[in-house]
Amino acid sequence: MSKVGAVLGILNDNFEKRKTVFSVSKESLTSWAKDLNIKKGTETIIYTGHMYQLMPITKSATSIYENFEESSLMNFAPVGRFINKFVDLSSMSKYAAKPEKKEEERFNKCLQNIYQLLKYAGVEAGYLYEDELYVGTLLYDNGIDEPLINQAKILNKILKNNFVKNIITVDPHTTHMLRKVYKKILPEFDYNVKNYIEVLFEKKIKPQNKLNMTLAIHDSCVLARYEEVIEEPRNLLKNAGVDCVEPELSRKLTHCCGGPIESLFPKKAKEIASKRANDLLSCSNVVTTMCPICLLNLKESTPAKDNFLDLSEILVKAYL
């Protein structure tokens, strides 16, 4: 079995057995919502898809894997897959490289920002808490689509039981999966799916503070090219007084952050991220991203980590 086969095998086994690719406790996945008094279920929900919450463990797991990627230890990857069937290796990575507390707090804060922005826009969204599922982007992108059909059926049942009609997603990948892919693999998966950026734009929210700042925009490939959400974030930022600058490759020609291959080829992913990060930093010393994967990859590829901000981190300063 090749290295690619073994790594994908572990991800697939985790998804089939544990309904996710990296094991994170239910408590960690839902802790962002702890003090927000969000209703369970309801007609309109915020759907995190676990993406923001998975970034701290993704960072620690990738840093371990990066050291092994080209070593002879990778020859034992198939053994790792065998062991993983009985012992969850992804949950062990938190002992080898514990996710940083401040990273967990930051990504949780992004989710809280998004919820508060939606509330400000007049959207009272519910949440599925521990019933929410990872949607399986990593598997689908790697051609492993059969386990997704079962996941789509389970999620559909959960959504129906909670009387959900409208789903507000927080990251581009979950937006695409629920809006296009799940509908394709399960025709009865029929919900009104929008990314929070689209919702805030449609609600024409008014800023409370004008931000006098310049920042560079990094479009997500999935949001800009797959879902054609391009003008909405710019409009929200410009209304808030932000001077948006763009690298040569932006909008529909945005340059990938490298994130999609970090679980298989972390060194290559970092090279791509570093190139993109430098392009963005040459436009402005503040850069905004609209996807947690882009945020993690870009900031970790450069010493100028603090210069990268999630869009929600900018918007709360202007709108709340």
Partner: protein, 100 residues
């Protein structure tokens, strides 16, 4: 000499969106590819259409290194579903060759 698997295309083309035959080999797709491969996608699609399974297997790492970012599709003059084609080739490899 190429060992041809004439049934390969049927195993990969499990979705109506697979349209590797629409590629006319112009290479425009590779111009802005962030990964910078020389094999993807035009050569790869030829191997699939020819049934050259060995070449596809040799390219496994490159096939799984594609970001599926669709930059190539923005350039493609012939509306080839490049990323979906690659995803379906991955699907074949994962199921039939990699033991996933």
């Amino acid at each position: 000499m190429i060992k041809v698997n004439s049934g390969l295309i049927d195993k990969i083309k499990i979705d109506e969106n697979f349209n590797a035959s629409a590629c006319f080999n112009c290479g425009t797709c590779s111009a802005l590819c962030p990964v910078g491969f020389d094999i993807l996608p035009r050569k790869l699609f030829r191997y699939v259409l020819l049934g050259d399974e060995e070449k596809i297997l040799e390219s496994t790492d490159q096939i799984f290194s594609c970001l599926l970012c669709r930059m190539c599709e923005e350039q493609c003059p012939h509306e080839v579903n490049i990323t979906e084609n690659i995803r379906l080739i991955r699907s074949y490899l994962a199921k039939s060759k990699l033991g996933v």
